[in-house]
Symmetry: C2
Subunit: 254 residues, 2 copies
């Protein structure tokens, strides 16, 4: 068996999330089926994150164990050939030691959330960003976000379906910046709760629109109560952008 680490990009729009679901197609199913078509084996895909329906990835990290010998580049090419025309692509592939685990070895995860802030509806970014027509104060959002950075009980910002053992997480960074009519939220942590990024962005958007005072974000956090959540941002603006590992110098060789 060889463990192959894959870097995966996908458009989450047509999928019921990354992880296998009973109710519709998933990215995991697409890749596992491609792997079976290529290798004849039933490899299981393990991934750094578990993205929801509609959430995108620019560089999800995953792994598959495959018995048949492959050059990583050839495996990547073969998987991509079988994945077509689904909007999933393996953008890098490399061999890893068998104790490397895409999920359990991952020491850092980063998400980006894209908001387009303008009156006009979206065209090219439809399904790729959250459209907010009311003007957002990105500076106020950034200031309010800083209350969430650090080691906290994030119960307020956690889906009722979250399977994490504890609601306590350390948020390493949460920044909000304006780039023209785009407002970009960037979040980094060792790990996140289910819906955490979308829940944080939802509350920050309330601050940005002046519906919440900046301090209300800190109050919502302190409440440790899902009912204190102002708003859960929609999935289509969310991108999984990076997973970090101890051995990162060797990453993405294919």
């Amino acid at each position: 068996m060889t463990r192959f680490a894959l870097t995966i990009e996908f458009d989450g729009g047509p999928f019921f999330g990354l992880q296998r679901q009973d109710n519709g197609p998933s990215v995991q199913q697409a890749i596992e089926e491609a792997a079976r078509a290529v290798t004849g084996e039933n490899a299981v895909l393990h991934s750094a994150g578990r993205t929801d329906s509609g959430v995108h990835a620019l560089a999800m990290r995953s792994h598959l164990d495959i018995a048949k010998p492959f050059e990583p580049f050839r495996l990547m090419e073969a998987l991509n050939a079988k994945l077509r025309p689904a909007p999933v692509a393996v953008i890098a592939c490399e061999e890893k030691p068998e104790d490397w685990h895409a999920r359990f070895s991952c020491t850092g995860r980063a998400y980006e959330y894209r908001i387009r802030n303008r009156r006009a509806p979206l065209t090219l970014e439809k399904g790729r960003a959250w459209h907010i027509a009311r003007p957002l104060d990105a500076d106020a959002m950034h200031r309010a976000a800083q209350a969430l950075v650090g080691h906290h009980d994030f119960t307020t910002f956690r889906s009722v379906h979250c399977q994490s053992a504890s609601p306590v997480k350390t948020l390493d960074a949460l920044t909000v910046s304006r780039e023209g009519d785009a407002v970009i939220v960037r979040a980094a942590a060792r790990s996140f709760l289910h819906h955490q990024v979308r829940s944080m962005v939802g509350c920050l958007a309330l601050v940005g629109q002046g519906q919440w005072r900046e301090e209300q974000v800190a109050h919502a956090l302190a409440a440790r109560d899902r009912a204190a959540l102002g708003l859960n941002a929609p999935p289509e603006g969310l991108y999984f952008v990076a997973a970090r590992y101890e051995d990162d110098k060797q990453e993405r060789t294919a």
Copy 2:
């Protein structure tokens, strides 16, 4: 009659181009129908450029003459409401004097051509960029492009369907730069021939892949013969990004 200048963004994918066509839906038709629904008038849309089927726009400039009085912002909102769910949006609207013409007053046009240069197929950028799997030398492309800058007979880079009176144009700038695995070609001129940007990009892509020597771009230009064209780049990577006018300080007020 009031002349309203519109700034228009659209995903060219589902359209048979900007201009009205007999064979399928056009951006012009979508906007004219929205304008009729809003005003009850049969206004004709005039635009700075004539983009082909599949070509996108981030900021096309157009105008409509409308008798019914409107605040520009209200007209923009009403047009966008009627345009949904087509991927066309009016992102700005302002009143102009009646001698201002979106096409004839335009003194500069700019296009961007996006190439994604990697082995893996495209996912989120499918239909939004030209996918070239073979490595491109963007520096060589940029050097070769400089032979096209200036006042030249661009017959080689002109569609046989081009309606321009003369093949002689002045290309103000043509740059090629790499941004990660994206290679971006930017072109600016007072005006362009039909297919000129795509034809120039096609030849530069041959240079980038080492299929053409850099000098061959200059030779193709000197040939003044469409048969000397190496390759016409596909439409999906092309974006109309800006139109310039003498009175630009007042632009995009809504």
